[in-house]
Symmetry: C2
Subunit: 355 residues, 2 copies
C-alpha cells in the first residue's frame, strides 16, 4: 500500500487533484476505515516528500442496492475526525458515491490514480442482478441443470461446470480490467484483494468446501421435503475463487496493466490469518462479546451476513434460520476434523503507458 500510494502520487502532481476509488465499498463500519487509511498515508507521504498534498477526489462504489445513506450519514463525523488527525479540512478531500457494477465503466477517462477493491471481485457479474444468479452456461438450452445437488463447483461437478465458472470469471475480470484501463491515468496503481485458491484444480476441497457444506445443508432440508431438490439444482452461486495463475493470465491477455505483485494468503475460516489463535477458548468456542457461539455458529453467522440476500431471493426467507442452523452444525463437525482455510489473493498492478 505504501509503495502504491507514493507511486500514484508521482503521477498526480501535474494535475494537482488525485482520483481514488474504492470498488465494492459496502456500507459497514469498515467502509470509511480503508478510505481513512489511504488518505492518512497520502498525507504522510506528501509530508515525507516535502510536497503539498493534492486535492483528493475519493469515490465510493458499490451496486445500486448498497446502503449509501448509511455511509453519507457518517460522513460529517468522518470529516471532523480527518481534520483533527491530519489537518485536512473540507477543501482537501471530496468524497462521492458512484452506484453501479464495476464490470462496466463507472468513471470518466483518465480520472483515477489509485484504485482499491477488497472482498468483491470473487463475485461474478451475474450477482449484479438478482434475476440471473448463475453463470449462464450452467443450464443447457433444453433447460437441463448441469450441477445437480450442488450450488458451487464440487468434486462431483462435471468438467463442463468448472469450465462454465472459469469462463464467466475470465469474461468478468477482463471486463473489469478493460473498464479500469480507460479510467486510470498512465502509471496509476490498483490494489485488489479477493478470494482465491492455492490449488490449480478448481474442484479441490480448499476453496470449495464452504459452499459444499451449504449444499449439504440444503440437500438435508430437501431430503426432509422442506426444499424442492430442483431449486438446489437450478441455483449456482455467482462466485469464483481463481488461482493466481488464472488471474495473471487474464491480466496479461487484457494487456493494459503490469503486475507488480500477486500472492495468496491463508486465512482461517473463522477470521484472522493462520497461526492467530486469539479469541478462541479451549473448547473451540469463539469468545465474541455477549454471544457464546460455537466456531461453526460464528462462521455460519459471518457467511449468512454475506450470502443471505442472494440465497434468500432463491429459496425464500422462511428457510433461512433452519438453513444456517444446519450449516453451523456441519461447519462445527468439519472443524472437529480439520482446520479449514481460505486463500486471499492480493494483486497489485500499474496501468502501463503503452496503449
Amino acid at each position: 500500500m505504501d509503495e502504491a500510494v507514493a507511486d500514484a502520487l508521482c503521477k498526480t502532481r501535474p494535475a494537482q487533484t488525485m482520483g481514488i476509488a474504492d470498488l465494492g465499498c459496502s456500507s459497514g463500519p469498515n467502509t470509511l476505515m480503508v478510505v481513512s487509511e489511504i488518505i492518512t498515508k497520502i498525507y504522510d507521504t506528501c509530508s515525507h516528500m516535502g510536497i503539498a498534498s493534492p486535492e483528493l477526489r475519493v469515490s465510493l462504489n458499490d451496486l445500486p442496492g448498497n446502503d449509501f445513506n448509511a455511509i453519507f450519514v457518517s460522513l460529517p463525523e468522518f470529516y471532523r475526525n480527518l481534520e483533527k488527525e491530519t489537518g485536512v479540512g473540507p477543501d482537501g478531500c471530496f468524497i462521492s458515491a458512484v452506484a453501479g457494477s464495476f464490470y462496466g465503466r463507472l468513471f470518466p477517462r483518465r480520472s483515477l490514480h489509485l484504485v482499491y477493491s477488497s472482498s468483491s471481485l470473487h463475485w461474478l457479474s451475474s450477482a449484479d442482478t438478482m434475476r440471473k444468479q448463475v453463470p449462464p452456461d450452467l443450464c443447457t438450452k433444453a433447460g437441463k441443470h448441469l450441477n445437480k445437488g450442488k450450488i458451487y463447483i464440487s468434486k462431483t461437478s462435471p468438467p463442463s461446470v468448472v469450465k462454465a465458472y472459469l469462463s464467466q470469471f475470465q469474461k468478468d475480470f477482463f471486463a473489469f480490467l478493460r473498464s479500469r484501463a480507460a479510467e486510470m491515468v498512465a502509471g496509476g496503481r490498483m490494489l485488489l484483494s479477493f478470494m482465491g485458491r492455492s490449488s490449480p484444480d478448481a474442484a479441490a476441497e480448499v476453496g470449495t468446501h464452504q459452499w459444499e457444506l451449504l449444499s449439504q445443508a440444503l440437500m438435508s432440508m430437501a431430503s426432509e421435503g422442506l426444499i424442492q431438490e430442483e431449486k438446489i439444482d437450478s441455483f449456482n452461486a455467482p462466485y469464483y475463487a481463481p488461482s493466481a495463475e488464472e488471474v495473471a493470465n487474464i491480466v496479461e491477455e487484457e494487456g493494459s496493466f503490469i503486475v507488480n505483485h500477486l500472492q495468496g494468503f491463508e486465512i482461517d475460516w473463522d477470521g484472522g490469518p493462520t497461526g492467530n489463535d486469539h479469541g478462541h477458548d479451549h473448547d473451540n468456542n469463539v469468545v465474541n462479546g455477549s454471544e457464546n457461539l460455537s466456531r461453526g455458529g460464528q462462521v455460519a453467522k459471518t457467511i449468512r451476513a454475506v450470502v443471505e440476500t442472494l440465497v434468500e431471493s432463491h429459496f425464500g426467507r422462511d428457510m433461512m434460520d433452519e438453513l444456517f442452523r444446519r450449516y453451523a452444525e456441519l461447519v462445527d463437525h468439519y472443524f472437529s476434523k480439520t482446520r479449514p482455510k481460505h486463500i486471499n489473493l492480493v494483486l497489485s498492478v500499474s496501468r502501463n503507458t503503452i496503449n
Copy 2:
C-alpha cells in the same frame, strides 16, 4: 437554460469532460428529470454545433440525510432510457452523489462547468443541522427570544428580527458563491432558482404569509394548551426569501460572478404560474386524482411535505396532524379573501475570469 448549456460547452472542449452539479437535488421523481433535461440539451447542442459530446460528470448533491439510496436504485432504468433517447451509453455520462452542505466546499477546484440549484437556496445554513434551527441572532445572550409568537419574519416582528434574518442570508449566500467560485472553471455557468419576494420590505405580507398562517395555527393550539407558547417563541424557520436587489448586492460584493439574468416570477400558492387555472373546479377544489382536497388542504399537504421534518423535530410528531389540519383551514379562509402568490427568483451567473 439553452444559452447556459451552449456557453458551458464552449468552456469544456479542451478538457473533454464536463462537470455538472445539481445542488439540493432531493430524492423525488423530479431529481433525475432535471438531470435528464440537461443531458439531452447538451447532446442536442453538440449535435447542432457539429462537435462530439464531452464525457459528462454529473454530481447530485444534497444533505447527508437525503435519501440517496432511492436515487441510486432508479439509476439503472435512467441509464437505459438515456441510451434509448440520446444514444449515450454508460461510457458517456457518469453520475455520482455528494452529501454535504452547499454552504461549504463540495467539489475539487475548477471541476464544474454547469451548476444548477432549484428550490433550495431559501433554506439557511442553520437548516443543515437540526440542532440549531434559528438564525443565531434571534435569541439574546440572556436567552430572551426576539420573535415572540412567530416562526418567521412577520409584520409585528421587531426590526432586529428582520436584520438577523437578512444578515444570516447574506453570510450564507456569500459562502455559497465563494465555494462555487473555487469549484467552477472560468466562464462556467450557474442557474439558481429559489423563493424570493417582490417587495423591498422583508416583512410585507407577500413572502411571509405562508409562515404567518403556520404561526397562527401553532398559536391557536397554544391557546388551547396543546403546545407551550415558549416552544413557538424559540422556533424560527431557517428560511429567507430575499429580494432581487439583496441577491444582486451579495453577488457584486463576493465578486467572482457576473449576473446574466435575475428575475422574479409569480407563482400561485397552489402551484403553477399565475394565470393558469387548470386543475381547479368551480368550487375552489383542487382536482387531484382520487383525493378531493380543498385548496387549503392541498397547500397544507404540499407545505407539510416540505417543512414537516423541521417542525416535527421541534414540536413533536404528535402535534403534526392537528397542526396541518388547522393550517389547511386558515389557508382556505385566506384563499376566500385573496389569491396568494409566491415569488420565484431565477438567477443566472457566469464565473468571471478576473480572479
